[in-house]
C-alpha cells in the first residue's frame, strides 16, 4: 500500500502510541479528581499543554484542548463572535476555507451577521489588499486559513493578521494543515486564535487544540464543568492529549529535515507527472506551498475514476471531484481559484508524509500515467493527447 493522503489523516507515530498506552489502562485517573490517580492524569495533560505551548511559542494558559480541528474552529469563531457582537456584526473569511470554518460562518449569517468571503487568485492566494478593502467599522472578526488542505497554498497570514491588528479586528487562523509542518511562532505572528488537529501531525484522531491569545474573550460553546479554565466543559481526553503533545514535539524537532526530504519526493512526483502525462495542471505551483501537497488537475477525465484506479493499484489519494463528496459540485476551492467545472472535476490530491519513499514516487508516476491513459481511452474527450492510440 502506498499512502499519499496525509492531509486527510496520518498514522500515529510509534513513540506517540507508546506514550499514550499507559493512560488507557493503569493511569486512568480523571484530571479533576483530587486524589493521587487524578493528579497523575492532571500532571500528564499539563505537561502536554506545556510541550504544545513551547512548540508554538505560546503560554500554557493560552492552549485549550478540544476534540479536534472542527471543534477548535467552531469554538474560535462562534466563541469570539458571540463575545464581541456588541461591537459590530461584520465578519471576514475566505472562499477556500475548510467546511469546519465555512459552515460556521454560514450559520452565523442566518443569525444576523454579515460575512465577506474573500476571493483567491488562480494560484490560490488571498490578496491582503482585498482584505484591507473588506474591512468596515462594523468588522469584529476575521478567519483565514494558514494553508489550504487541497492545494497546500500557504496564505500571507502574517500580513493579514497585522492588518487585522491595526484595525482592532480579532484574527483567527485554521492551522490544521500547518501545525507540525511549518514553524509557528506566536511570539511574533500576530494572530489571536489558532486551531490545530492532532491526527494531521502523527497524533491520534479525536483531539486538537485552540490557541487563544491572552486577553481575547471567548464564550464557551460546550457548557459543563470548569475544565480548561471554564472555556470548554468535559473531562479531558487524557491519553489522546498526552499523545498530541508528544506528536507535536516530534514534528517540531524533525520539521526542517522532514520538510526538505518530503519536498524532494513531492518535486520528483510532480516533475514525473508533468513529463509523463500530457495536459495536466499543478495548482498553486507558483505560490508558497506546503512541501508535502500536490493538487493535480487532469483534463478529459474525472477525479473519482482516477482515485478508484489508483486504489486498485494500492495507492491512496483524495479527489476534490463532485463524485467523491456526495454533492454534484466539484471542489469549492478549485472553483474559487477560477478553474471551470469541467477541469475542476478532474482533480487528484497527493499528500505526502513521513513514511513515503522515492521508490514509491517512481511507482506512482508509472501507475498514474497508465491510469490517465486508460481513462482517456474511455473518455469521449481528449483523444488527441493519447500517445498510443
Amino acid at each position: 500500500m502506498i499512502y499519499l493522503d496525509y492531509n486527510a489523516t496520518s498514522p500515529c507515530h510509534p513513540k506517540v502510541i507508546e506514550t499514550m498506552l499507559p493512560f488507557f489502562g493503569e493511569k486512568f485517573g480523571n484530571p479533576s479528581s483530587l486524589h493521587t490517580m487524578g493528579q497523575e492524569a492532571k500532571k500528564a495533560i499539563e505537561e502536554s499543554r506545556a510541550a504544545i505551548a513551547r512548540c508554538i511559542s505560546a503560554r500554557e494558559e493560552e492552549i485549550i484542548f478540544t476534540s479536534g480541528g472542527t471543534e477548535a474552529n467552531n469554538l474560535a469563531i462562534r466563541g469570539v463572535v458571540k463575545a464581541y457582537q456588541k461591537k459590530g456584526n461584520h465578519l471576514i473569511t475566505s472562499q477556500i476555507e475548510h467546511h469546519a470554518v465555512l459552515n460556521v460562518f454560514k450559520a452565523l449569517e442566518k443569525e444576523g451577521f454579515t460575512v465577506t468571503y474573500l476571493p483567491v487568485n488562480q494560484e490560490g492566494l488571498v490578496d491582503p489588499g482585498d482584505f484591507q478593502k473588506a474591512i468596515t467599522p462594523q468588522t469584529i472578526f476575521a478567519s483565514i486559513m494558514h494553508a489550504n488542505n487541497e492545494t497546500g497554498v500557504i496564505q500571507p497570514i502574517e500580513e493579514l493578521a497585522s492588518i487585522a491588528k491595526e484595525h482592532g479586528i480579532i484574527f483567527h487562523t485554521d492551522a490544521v494543515q500547518t501545525a507540525g509542518k511549518l514553524p509557528i511562532d506566536l511570539g511574533k505572528l500576530p494572530v489571536d486564535l489558532l486551531s490545530a488537529s492532532a491526527h494531521k501531525f502523527y497524533g491520534p484522531k479525536g483531539t486538537g487544540f485552540l490557541y487563544v491569545r491572552k486577553g481575547v474573550r471567548l464564550i464557551p460553546q460546550l457548557l459543563g464543568g470548569a475544565h480548561e479554565r471554564g472555556r470548554r466543559g468535559g473531562t479531558e481526553n487524557v491519553p489522546l492529549i498526552v499523545g498530541m503533545g508528544k506528536a507535536l514535539e516530534i514534528c517540531t524537532q524533525e520539521q526542517e529535515e522532514e520538510n526538505q526530504r518530503i519536498q524532494a519526493l513531492r518535486d520528483f512526483l510532480e516533475s514525473g507527472i508533468l513529463a509523463e502525462v500530457p495536459e495536466v495542471i499543478i495548482v498553486g505551483r507558483r505560490s508558497p506551498r506546503l512541501s508535502n501537497t500536490s493538487l493535480v488537475l487532469v483534463r478529459y477525465v474525472e477525479g473519482e475514476s482516477m482515485l478508484l484506479n489508483l486504489d486498485f493499484a494500492g495507492i491512496c489519494v483524495s479527489s476534490g471531484s463532485a463524485c467523491t463528496s456526495g454533492s454534484l459540485e466539484p471542489s469549492h476551492v478549485l472553483l474559487a481559484c477560477g478553474y471551470p467545472h469541467e477541469i475542476a472535476h478532474g482533480s487528484v490530491r497527493f499528500s505526502l508524509g513521513k513514511w513515503n519513499t522515492m521508490e514509491e514516487m517512481k511507482e506512482v508516476v508509472r501507475v498514474f500515467s497508465s491510469i490517465v491513459e486508460k481513462l482517456r481511452h474511455i473518455s469521449p474527450f481528449g483523444k488527441e493527447v493519447i500517445r498510443n492510440v
Partner: protein, 128 residues
Amino acid sequence: MYSEKVLEHFRNPRNVGKIENPDGVGKVGNPVCGDVMVMYLKIKDNVIEDAKFETFGCGAAIATSSMATELIKGKTIEEALSVTNKAVAEALGGLPPHKMHCSVLAEEAIQAAINDYLQRQNHGNGKA
C-alpha cells in the same frame, strides 16, 4: 460504497469505444456536471447488433455505461427502450443513492441513441 459488480464493470468496462458508421448515436450529460456519455449503436432488422460507449465521469458513470451496453446488445429496439435506469442499477447490484443519477444518464443515453436511429430511418424513408 460500490458493489463488487460496479467495481468489476468499472475496472474492466465492456464495449468501450466508437462504432464506425453507427446507425444511431446518443450523447447525454454535460462536462460541467462531470458526466458525459456517448452511446453508439449498430442496428440491423430492428435488433441492436452492437453497442459501444465513451464516457467521461466517475466510477458509477463508467460502470453504468458498460452495463447499459451489455443489457441492450441483441435486444430489439422496443426491448432496449424499455430498459430503465433501475434495471441498469439492479443489474450492477445497486448504486449508492447519490450515484443514481448516473443510471439515469445511462437510460437517457440508450434512448438518445435509439431516437437518433429512428430519426435517421425517417429521413431515409422520406428521401426514398
